[in-house]
Symmetry: D2
Subunit: 297 residues, 4 copies
């Protein structure tokens, strides 16, 4: 539970020579399960946080405070390093500073600030995407770096430039963002239906960005069919997995509720639910027993 | 989303002639799934709230504010009537009043206040259970009733007397609690390893309590093998189901994380996860699209 | 504490023939004092909420959730009708809907949504102010009206058009906003150093806006030297007072701390502090004593 | 804003040879003013937190979460070391552990856990006070020490023994509490109308406790007429001042609201309110201007 330690572990991953998966987690239990299975990095995107805490789609209606609350719930009990995508910092550079302060306090290990105009503008067409100017983005990233208290907190620049502007734009932005003092570049690979993984020279594009920024890259796995070692060679160090875990949870919930609603016996669910022992482990029951023993008799 | 409406629906169930199941829900998504499947009443016990929001066991370490926050998250988006067990009201009668005010504000449909001494006392043996005096419990229940703003909010007295004191104690308490103005009696059936369902005359005992209180009963299903119609005949109107849903979610999460951790392809999970369409439905995507259409162009 | 009742009282004031003062309140105690003195409407501007809950200037760094939390603290114990200025709704029309839902839930009686571009844009000059288009503003106001659950909640359109665009702009916007279904027009009178009260024909301008909108007006008192009856004749129904209360509190705090820091006797402060009786009244001590008496013996 | 630094400063005061005043602060602005005046330690008692965040009397209706939220608001912007009295830790030893974790996370510098039975028990007479057993209190204090993450966080044992049990009880408890690993003894001097300052040999009693515990003492100033140097000689290192600041704020608010309510001109308040310059200083306006300059153009 030492947040600095968790941040340093993430820095080790970024500085290493492998491409590590960050799996999506969304509440204390999912984080505990992911950790028990062996993951070292969790990812709570703004999208996933909206879905799970508000039952709302990825349309930027979650507030910074609500996001930080959920991060705090997770980091109170999780040993994972946690990566979040803090959208565009919820406003201008001053809002970015508050964002960094609030999510740092909540215990996050890494956050990204992105260069897309958010939330959706009045009159903006469905597929249309706009980026803020390089100057504005750099100002925000510099504000993010200045807003950090714990120097081990990782700050990444997330850019949609590869999708929206192409490789030249991405290279220019990555270079500028790098000079703002960030620790990594998080490349959006899929924006409003445009998916860069289908480009034949995508590995070259990743390489170009990596070379320009001289910083480790982070990507969303999306529907990438690329080989892990090829991505590693492009400087990709963190690969964020998708929303399968929450979708698996939803499917299991639906089947369980349907069984119970149709009058099925709870006992018949035995093979489909975690055992009492597993549940006890997840809630750290042994430590509580130990504390009762130590302090209450 | 009209909380008074949800409370009135619960009152209809209590006043009816059937025994309705309340299924356990713990966050916005689980509540949405339960509702989609057909349930009308959700149950968020203190135990379940501890497990899911703190990853902590059922040892009364969750605060009233944390509980109310989670209720609010659920009731912001759920059409279910929600029943919660508010432990002993987190202190004395003044704390009970605040408890009622806070959870009512959070949108709950029904809450119970129980007569067990909580949290565990210093030196209390594992199996030992103590109830507060009838007078103290009645004071707390009267405070609960007085603390309610919306008269449609259901207040139940939860008693462990049947387990701890036997049927005579339960009858005496049910009668006294009923006169405090509560709307239902919630009978604990399993306390510290003692399970009343194994008693041969348990139906008679339920009947005696129901007759004494002249109020509908609520029970936890536990491992009851009793027939629903027999329980209905004893005045049982709500049967709270167990923690299978969260345990099913945990199992699904573990399998998903294991698959991903061992390098399995996300695509292979397709049959085990909710479809994008189902996820969209759960987050009310159509309404959001409609609002974008209506107000942003 | 019935929020609908408080909203209806505010509607009575808006529908009346007088111009009523809304005094600034910022926490439970200030609201209690204002009510004890005789005020019926409190005003918690975003600016005042930033100052008092974050010790931050009026630069839009307060989140919606933080604002709603402070409103809730006040409305839990205050009988005042509370007016808030919810900035621009913290984003686009979807954010406006959430804003209305959250502050309505927190108990507010009235809120305004404004047409200024917020927060400050990158590169925006100090004195420069931009308004969103009429179409965008109307979309947001329609979303606000649609987001309301309690029809008694007052929704006002706040416009800086009189300052930024002049009377013609203000008339055009007031007319359009009125058709969006809002209940009042809140005219900004002082934006970035430009103060409309110095205009010789300002009463005519107010009258023109009022006639166009056919809605009651709300103003900030600012340094207006206009007579109350003249404003009333222009349709002004609510006049928001300034930040004197919090500034008076700060001065009293400084003098008290200085006295104590320099070793002065606490007893010497007697004439400068509220009496124990007044403090007891503010915290509703008599009711608590009554509850202790009723429910705890 | 480095909480460890603030804790270490408090430890320096405890280890020193002077008796330092801790002045009561209750929100971000009061903390900022106290710091500007020269205070180094602030005190937010549970009582003061109840009054200011709930407008409720000192009857233990504030939740741990609400208390921690207010601490966080203060410590986000204050350079003071902050001392809080965390009542009895809101339950048993497990609740004490959570209390320590939550208030430590919120940024507090020191907290005390007390040995009084709280909240008031059913049937408890007005003047009656009960302490938990030494064993139970020691268990809670050991749990508090174990619950701490930052070793610089100060944990004090607060005891009402001097009032309730006399000097022998206080000595015995102080000795036992000291062995539990706490950093200071906070002696209650006034409980339910009994005030130890009127005892002729009170200095001897303080000395005896200090000698038994071999730990620095903390006291509430109350209506003590004792000389500071005499208290210092008894090992008293921190003297908590009373509620004069909030009472001064209330008086100033009342006078201001009365002036405004009776139609007085705001301008006439000039000599009674903080200047715009002072308000700007309190909200750190210069830093914000600097950030706008640095990151937004």
């Amino acid at each position: 539970m030492d947040h600095t330690e968790q941040r340093k572990k993430l820095r080790v991953a970024l500085a290493g020579s492998k491409c590590v998966s960050a799996t999506s987690v969304f509440d204390p239990l999912s984080a505990r399960v992911a950790e028990a299975v062996g993951f070292e990095i969790g990812m709570l995107s703004g999208s996933l946080a909206s879905i799970t805490t508000l039952a709302a789609p990825d349309l930027n209606v979650l507030t910074l405070t609500e996001y930080a609350d959920q991060i705090r719930r997770i980091m109170r009990v999780s040993g994972l390093s946690l990566f979040i995508d803090a959208d565009n910092g919820y406003g201008n550079a001053l809002n970015v500073m508050r964002t960094v302060q609030e999510v740092e306090h909540a215990g996050v290990s890494a956050l990204s600030i992105e260069d897309m105009v958010l939330p959706r503008s009045f009159g903006q067409a469905e597929g249309e995407q706009r980026l803020v100017s390089i100057e504005e983005a750099v100002g925000k990233l510099r504000a993010a770096v200045a807003g950090r208290s714990d120097p081990s907190l990782v700050i990444a620049a997330r850019t949609s430039a590869l999708v929206v502007e192409g490789v030249d734009g991405a290279v220019a932005r990555a270079k500028a963002y790098s000079m703002a003092g960030v620790d990594a570049i998080y490349l959006a690979t899929n924006v409003a239906g445009v998916n860069v993984y289908s480009r034949p020279d995508i590995l070259e594009q990743f390489k170009a960005v990596n070379a320009a920024a001289k910083l480790p890259l982070m990507l969303n796995a999306g529907r990438s069919l690329l080989k892990r070692e090829d991505l590693t060679a492009c400087g990709v160090r963190i690969m964020a997995q998708g929303l399968q875990p929450v979708a698996a949870s939803v499917k299991a919930l639906r089947e369980t509720y349907m069984h119970l609603f149709s009058g099925g016996a709870p006992a018949d669910l035995k093979s489909k639910i975690a055992s009492p022992q597993e549940m006890e482990q997840l809630v750290n029951a042994d430590s509580y027993k130990q504390w009762l023993h130590e302090y209450m008799r």
